[in-house]
Symmetry: C2
Subunit: 403 residues, 2 copies
């Protein structure tokens, strides 16, 4: 594949955070009525002004700067002392030991995901991908010229399981998928995989020798009635799994760009080799901030979860009062993924109209699955009042454009 | 190429900063005599405790954290206001205008180099690479399965030019090299390309339609008698050149991981698409620190250059007093690349012995060229006294192991 073709397929115009670069074009011809007043809400990512970074994180960063050279120039896989402390905390959280040769700090979880896929997928390799799932999974497989084998997630199905089509997953493995990558909780739907689903994934991966990359970015932000099962502690071959996490979301530490991948040492070693030519290391001073992770003040995380649950519940009410709107209650994370009723404009145009007429920025469902054209994703980690008002404006526009 | 093969070729054991991961093995059998006492000096990178970050950089970072969400979540190519300010400064420095669609902020210059090569080199594409040059150039071309066409640099030749074999460069272009990547000042030798060399590179690139990636990381740290020629302002097609710089070296801001690439908008656009799946963006808060770049206090940069020149000159004296040692006077940057006299142990073993017996960490020449096995690279941005003493110990060990 030529470089032109490769980048032709790598669209980012609809990617979260890039809305400012969208061309407006002939959109005005489609618009009905005037604009709706209200505080602009950017649901493409969380609002770190509404939910501020972990208390003390800046102070720990400042100490890192004070430490100077040893913190600026760490090993490519990150500072040893910070990794060691973190390995203990993450082993406790996920319920299985972490080999000190099996952990790397990265520039964000995006960095970890890139390195993990680059280290396991070569041209022509088959990769099982969930639909819908985090948009970069698909793009990364395409970039490395792998072949995607989609596996559907029936996220509107039974509450208490994610709804993965396990038959389809086994078919993909039987067709010699080399890698399976998935997010748990699922991004964009917020569903959490049940213990039975996770155990079956582990069993199938073992049977067919598939490497699994589990993106558990949101696994700390879980609502009241949820049981979470860590893949790495549930029957999978430790030499064939990489788990990815990071303090960027729940803890609002995105501005520091930190992620961590842990698992099979042979894969972590590849990831480090590649990091050496991709970005050298996660920003040295930022690495210090990981010392605050899993060491937050008592009750801080619980409080944060309660506030998110309140926003979730009230937005769900507004959405469910809308005729024809379908939405799953997320069990974890801060995403809603409603399927909109039929409207007279194309979904992609509606997303742009929503931004221009109502000051509401959402991410189109097609970023996550070709079958989700009628969905939009909202990150509801926002100011409560602003978020409720923005979703009300979205609903008002849906009525205005209803088919 | 399978993933195994790809990573098998991607060695980092001798990469700067990774020395702690080297296996010692049977080295003790080769060692002569005891250890030499002295302060350990890690010449694999600059010492940011000896040359501290730009005054005010931490305060500007803190203001970025205060700004909150807008600084944490920038466009993938970096915050607009910061890019705009920087474009003006870099246009003035390099002597040619910068298109606002033609600039991206990256996690370090390593990030910029990765994105630039990934955006121009596909499998089988030929790439002209200077020998010696920055080790990642070669590794990146290998990672993307390009084919290297080496071009020799006669860096011990005439002072006042870098010594690039322009005939060999044209041969490479005639053999349909698609890309030419080089560092100026050259890393590891510190030579600066003459105006004639730069103009000829521009002319040949135009004639053969080659894209040029110019890594100008050290172009601010220039010694007293040096004329520096910016490729982008000297006759090259602006649609076929990317320039890379960053505040990580001269300004000791490496701990923030910042780089910038500027040039052809069509290539910058590809680089941004790729950054979206590699690391999203340069750490948001860190981006603020770029506001201090090219806005340092009066005289600060001159003072820094004077101190480096003093260290350079005194280390050169120690090296040149050693029989059989060959070393070029660097015109810019903070690298020395001496060629060692004949010794009884293999050069790679000597590098390890040097670390274990003398507390002196250097980077082996083979990282930069297959023809530089007898060279080592030293980053002399160090504490003056410690650096001189460390090089004296290196010389003492050379005498001990002399053939």
């Amino acid at each position: 594949m030529s470089v032109q073709e490769k980048f032709g397929r790598l669209g980012t115009d609809n990617a979260p955070g890039q809305e400012g670069r969208q061309k407006v074009g002939d959109l005005h011809k489609l618009m009905r009525g005037g604009t709706l007043e209200g505080v602009t809400v950017d649901f493409s990512h969380g609002d770190v002004d509404a939910f501020t970074p972990t208390p003390g994180s800046f102070e720990v960063f400042a100490e890192g700067v004070q430490r100077g050279g040893s913190q600026a120039y760490t090993e490519y896989r990150g500072a040893g002392a910070i990794r060691e402390e973190l390995a203990g905390k993450l082993a406790a959280f996920t319920g299985a030991p972490i080999d000190m040769d099996g952990m790397i700090l990265t520039p964000g979880t995006q960095g970890a995901l890139f390195l993990a896929i680059a280290s396991t997928v070569a041209r022509g390799d088959k990769v099982a991908i969930v639909q819908p799932d985090y948009f970069a999974n698909r793009k990364l497989v395409e970039f490395f010229e792998g072949e995607m084998l989609p596996v559907q997630l029936d996220y509107m199905g039974t509450y208490g399981e994610a709804g993965l089509d396990l038959g389809q997953l086994e078919d993909a493995f039987r067709q010699e998928a080399k890698v399976f990558v998935f997010s748990n909780p699922n991004n964009p739907t917020g569903t959490v995989y049940s213990e039975a689903e996770i155990r079956r994934i582990a069993e199938l991966a073992g049977k067919y020798g598939v490497t699994v990359i589990a993106d558990q970015l949101y696994s700390r932000l879980r609502y009241s009635d949820v049981t979470y099962t860590h893949l790495r502690a549930n029957g999978i071959d430790p030499e064939n799994v990489i788990t990815i996490m990071g303090p960027s979301k729940t803890e609002s530490l995105s501005g520091y760009r930190l992620g961590v991948a842990f698992g099979a040492p042979k894969l972590i070693e590849r990831m480090e080799k590649l990091q050496a030519i991709v970005s050298l290391r996660a920003a040295g001073y930022s690495q210090s901030v990981l010392q605050t992770w899993f060491s937050e003040p008592d009750g801080w995380l619980d409080g944060r979860i309660r506030l998110h649950q309140a926003i979730r519940d009230d937005l769900l009410k507004v959405l469910r009062d809308t005729h024809g709107m379908e939405v799953r209650t997320p069990q974890a994370g801060s995403y809603l993924f409603p399927r909109l009723p039929d409207i007279v404009v194309a979904p992609a145009d509606f997303v742009r109209i929503l931004r221009l007429q109502a000051g509401v920025v959402v991410t189109p469902g097609t970023e996550f699955s070709p079958h989700s054209a009628k969905n939009v994703r909202l990150n509801f980690s926002q100011d409560y009042t602003a978020a409720v008002s923005a979703v009300e404006r979205m609903v008002e526009l849906i009525e205005r454009y209803r088919a």
